[in-house]
């Protein structure tokens, strides 16, 4: 029942997104714009500053992810469909997992575009260790989306949700963002700092376990008015 409910929510969000393309296009547009602005600012005479790529990648992920979180839950606010989901006889944490999987898919698509774009514009060797890159991106994205999905669901009925979401989200996810930036920077070092990257993947995994567990534990009480 748990996994089935999560799958149903994910499939429903996918069906809505296929029809509207609203969240995907705004997220990708924002993420690309973010990277292009940094490129215009920092790349001089075809030369990008060292170590900038890691920070820019994670800024783009965090900012576009925040936008996507807001838009995804705005959809559940219209028509109060989140209440209809909560009223279903399914385990409420399964609803959270369904929404989280949707966010992860969306951010994965954004990263598929962002990573090659940043690698190209900033001459960053992001693909030198693809598995380690995958580990860092996966670890960081799961941690960020886990907290973000919980907060976005909590704030769905708050009047100033657009302001409150980043105010609550960024301080809590700072460890994940730092882990993501430092891990990516380790991959971009010359020579590649493999032990450093592996250590950051371990730290990110630990954060993910804590954040996902806490979110699953608190989702039902936080969503009951």
């Amino acid at each position: 029942m748990f996994l089935r409910t999560a799958w149903l929510v994910l499939r429903k969000d996918f069906a809505i997104e296929v029809k509207s393309l609203e969240v995907l296009t705004t997220t990708l547009f924002f993420a690309i714009s973010c990277v292009l602005i940094f490129a215009f600012a920092f790349v001089k005479n075809g030369q990008a500053p060292e170590d900038a790529a890691a920070g820019i990648l994670w800024i783009a992920i965090a900012f576009s992810g925040t936008l996507a979180l807001g838009r995804t839950f705005e959809r559940e606010r219209y028509g109060e469909t989140l209440r209809a989901l909560l009223l279903a006889p399914a385990p409420r944490p399964a609803l959270y997992v369904g929404k989280l999987l949707g966010m992860l898919t969306l951010l994965a698509v954004a990263e598929l575009l962002l990573v090659p774009l940043i690698a190209f514009l900033f001459q960053a060797a992001l693909f030198s260790r693809p598995l380690l890159l995958l580990g860092i991106l996966g670890g960081g994205t799961i941690g960020f989306a886990a907290v973000g999905t919980l907060f976005a669901a909590m704030l769905v009925r708050a009047r100033s949700r657009d302001v409150l979401l980043p105010i609550l989200l960024y301080p809590i996810t700072i460890p994940v963002i730092i882990g993501g930036v430092r891990g990516t920077a380790a991959l971009l070092a010359s020579p590649v700092d493999e032990p450093g990257a592996v250590m950051w993947i371990g730290i990110l995994t630990a954060f993910d376990v804590v954040f996902v567990t806490l979110s699953l534990w608190t989702f039902e009480p936080l969503m009951t008015e």
């Binding site: 069906a15 028509g79 009223l87 006889p89």
Partner: protein
């Protein structure tokens, strides 16, 4: 776990939002076959009461019993027996009528192949089944939302202002549906401002104001006069 009950009882239920008291020590009960009209002015606490009955909010104090059990004890299984139609219609406008119903049917563990077509027929939307809900009129959405709320044949049916924006024909359809539900053994709780529509439809009248229960009595004709006497005088 299969859950069923023949009555719902609120015992000294209070609900506070910070310092504001939305409900204050409300006690009432409703049994299978009842259509309980929950009447009162704006801000009386009707929607809060409906939200608590739907298990979407917990009382600050007091308890709600479904049969002889509480919501906390019954857990998610209780929600199989509760249907809610609120002012907001709980529909995804981007999806078609069929997709909306199929999604909620699956969420309630029903087979969409056997339930969705019948619900579309009952809503009078069989010919618009594959159109996006965003293109529907308010009345069409309301009929679809009604069938969505009743897909799983709930025992406790909660309606919060179900007649908003409906034309006479649609009001008649919803009213007939309510009577049929009660005749079939459902407990119907209806929060509304519309005394004319409630008159002759509800079998019991619960009047609340400022979160306090003013009256809980069998419905008689002349509901408006009774409402004025109690709410106007309170």
């Amino acid at each position: 776990m299969s859950v069923d009950f023949a009555s719902v009882q609120l015992i000294d239920v209070s609900r506070h939002f910070g310092r504001r008291r939305a409900l204050s020590r409300v006690s009432l009960s409703a049994a299978s076959g009842d259509i309980v009209g929950l009447l009162g002015p704006n801000g009386a606490g009707k929607s809060t009461l409906i939200t608590i009955l739907a298990t979407l909010a917990a009382p600050t104090s007091g308890e709600v019993r479904y049969g002889d059990q509480t919501a906390a004890r019954l857990g998610a299984a209780l929600r199989v027996r509760i249907g809610l139609l609120a002012h907001e219609l709980h529909l995804y406008p981007e999806l078609s009528a069929r997709q909306n119903l199929a999604f909620f049917a699956a969420l309630y563990g029903l087979d969409p192949r056997t339930t969705v077509d019948a619900a579309l027929e009952a809503a009078g939307l069989a010919d618009r089944a594959d159109d996006a809900v965003s293109g529907f009129s308010r009345g069409m959405r309301q009929r679809l939302a009604l069938e969505r709320a009743l897909l799983h044949q709930p025992r406790l049916v909660l309606f919060d202002e179900p007649f908003t924006g409906l034309d006479d024909r649609a009001v008649g359809i919803v009213s007939d549906r309510l009577r049929a539900l009660a005749a079939g053994g459902a407990i119907v709780v209806l929060a509304t401002h519309d005394l004319d529509l409630a008159d002759g439809l509800v079998t019991r009248v619960v009047l609340i104001r400022g979160g306090r229960l003013l009256s809980d009595e069998a419905a008689t004709s002349g509901l408006r006069a009774r409402y004025r006497a109690l709410i106007g005088a309170a």
